[in-house]
């Protein structure tokens, strides 16, 4: 689940939670140029797809903007 308010997703039991940009534009940023906006969105969506290949012990947060793929656990 891609979410800007990722805490909800974690506490309601989504196993793979990907940090999105903002509530009003979860997978994009209208302040960027169209090319950079596309790349930004692709980074989030690609990260989300990649998490499907990762085994998780429970609700887990992935941050596409962080250097590592896995940022924090819900607990």
């Amino acid at each position: 689940m891609i979410s800007a308010i990722y805490n909800f997703a974690l506490t309601t039991g989504a196993n793979r939670v990907i940090r999105g940009a903002r509530i009003e534009h979860v997978c994009g940023d209208p302040t960027l140029s169209p090319e950079k906006d596309y790349a930004f969105g692709m980074r989030i969506v690609t990260a989300a797809l990649e998490t499907l290949t990762v085994a998780v012990p429970g609700p887990t947060l992935f941050d596409p903007m962080a250097s590592g793929k896995e940022a924090a656990h819900a607990s």
């Binding site: 800007a4 308010i5 990722y6 909800f8 903002r22 009003e24």
Partner: protein, 437 residues
């Protein structure tokens, strides 16, 4: 900061040749007031009608209800900043108010053009639905106003609200030089240092994220509606209208903000039951987790710097805005500030919590019942003899109860049976509904 509030109770409103107040009777010069409203070239049409308690009258669409107030002594104007009014700091001197009445802003103008957020409130003056709201006890002078259709939505909003404020100003002006029948002095005087120090954390919605505009019309602080860090307001500023409505529910109008019973009780019991420190006003609907947590942290820090030992918390919105509200409570509790939260609840479908993020620190909660009229099983509001405003209402997310159960997006005659608005949501404890234990 000392403010004397002079109250002029209004027992009747009639139309006449000059606007004047005499022993509870407010005479309104309809033509002169409408002429003042129509001086604004943005206004295409305007009418005034009176709705009295107990009448078979429905007012639709209701955007705001305003209590007429005027600054008699001291700097600034009442309802400062909004619609380009003076932004001098208010709260000193003397203010006069017309109590027991409201100026109702009736217009087809929607909050903004981003969709998904519609004006939904209709008010009745009689019947069980009417009795759920404070307005059916008021004499309501309704301004039915439409702006120039060619204007953009934001300009239309400010035009029709400015028109309602013009009416409010003209009425309040009639009592400027009169001796008020009732007087009350509001001041945060030094008190017994052993009294507990209490702050009111008053959370209000910002339309910025939903509308995409930092200046979209909505609940305002000195006219500002954008997302801003928490404000520290002297309670007298609020008595002079520095915090105004409206937002989308009938309980988030300017009238309800000005007459918030929780706020007034906190202030009136200052020096007797506690030491009231004032109001921290937190803007809500920040749109990242980080911003929400930052506002919560800063709100709690401000409360701590003010020396608060306790905080009372309210909010006027729903959904994700719960995060910055409940996390402010958590942050306060972690700093040793005891909190009480006044809130409505969602329904508990499939055993879901009635609050979006139930944190253990929020352990003292006063419920004002469910926020949805459908959960409260509020029946359809019955047909009325007269409608002030528009002849049809497009029902959004209608109640499942009654003749029009489950309708959505359907236009119904405004004078016939109507589902209640989707939201009830008593933000400040005007009613007596609460939770089911």
């Amino acid at each position: 900061m000392r403010l004397e509030m002079g109250t002029f109770p209004v027992k009747d409103v009639v139309f006449g040749n000059a606007t004047r107040y005499d022993a509870g009777r407010l005479t309104v010069d309809r033509e002169a007031i409408l002429a003042a409203v129509k001086q604004d070239p943005r206004i295409a049409s305007a009418e005034l009608e009176v709705a009295r308690p107990g009448e078979s009258v429905r007012i639709w669409p209701v955007r705001d209800v305003i209590e007429p107030r005027v600054k008699v002594e001291g700097p600034g104007v009442c309802y400062p900043g909004i619609c380009g009014r003076d932004i001098a700091t208010v709260g000193r001197g003397r203010t006069h108010r017309l109590a027991g009445m409201g100026v109702v802003e009736v217009s087809s103008v929607n909050w903004h053009d981003a969709g998904g957020d519609f004006v939904e409130t209709h008010l009745d003056m009689a019947g069980p639905y009417a009795e759920m709201y404070p307005y059916q006890k008021l004499i309501n002078l309704c301004l039915v106003v439409e702006p120039d259709r060619t204007l953009n939505e934001e300009v239309k909003n400010y035009a029709v609200h400015n028109a309602a404020l013009t009416v409010s100003d003209q009425l309040a002006e009639a009592v400027r030089s009169l001796t008020p029948p009732e007087r009350e002095v509001f001041e945060l005087t030094p008190v017994d240092p052993s009294l507990p120090r209490v702050v009111y954390i008053w959370c209000v919605h910002s339309p910025q994220a939903m509308s995409g505009s930092p200046s979209a019309f909505c609940t305002a602080t000195y006219g500002l509606t954008q997302l801003t860090p928490p404000w520290y307001l002297h309670p007298n500023e609020i008595l002079d209208g520095a915090l105004t409505g409206p937002y989308r529910t009938a309980f988030a109008m300017s009238w309800t903000v000005a007459n918030n019973p929780l706020f007034l009780d906190l202030y009136r019991r200052h020096g007797r039951d506690w030491n009231f420190l004032g109001v921290i006003s937190l803007r809500t609907e920040w749109t990242t987790q980080t911003e929400k947590q930052l506002m919560a942290n800063q709100t709690a820090k401000l409360a701590q710097q003010l020396g608060a030992q306790g905080a009372v918390v309210t909010w006027d919105a729903g959904g994700n805005e719960f995060i910055e509200v409940v996390r402010s409570i958590q942050a306060c509790e972690r700093l040793g500030i005891k909190t009480v939260f006044l809130t409505s609840e969602d329904d508990a479908t499939d055993g879901a919590p009635t609050m979006l993020e139930p944190l253990p620190e929020a352990d003292a909660i006063v419920s004002t019942s469910f926020f949805k009229n459908v959960t409260l099983a509020v029946p359809e509001t019955p047909a009325v003899a007269r409608v002030i405003g528009l002849p049809t209402k497009i029902v959004r997310r209608g109640s499942t109860i009654g003749l029009h159960g489950g309708v959505d997006g359907v236009a119904l005659p405004a004078s016939g049976p109507l589902p209640p608005p989707w939201r009830y949501d008593d933000h400040y404890g005007f009613g007596s509904l609460s939770c089911i234990e």
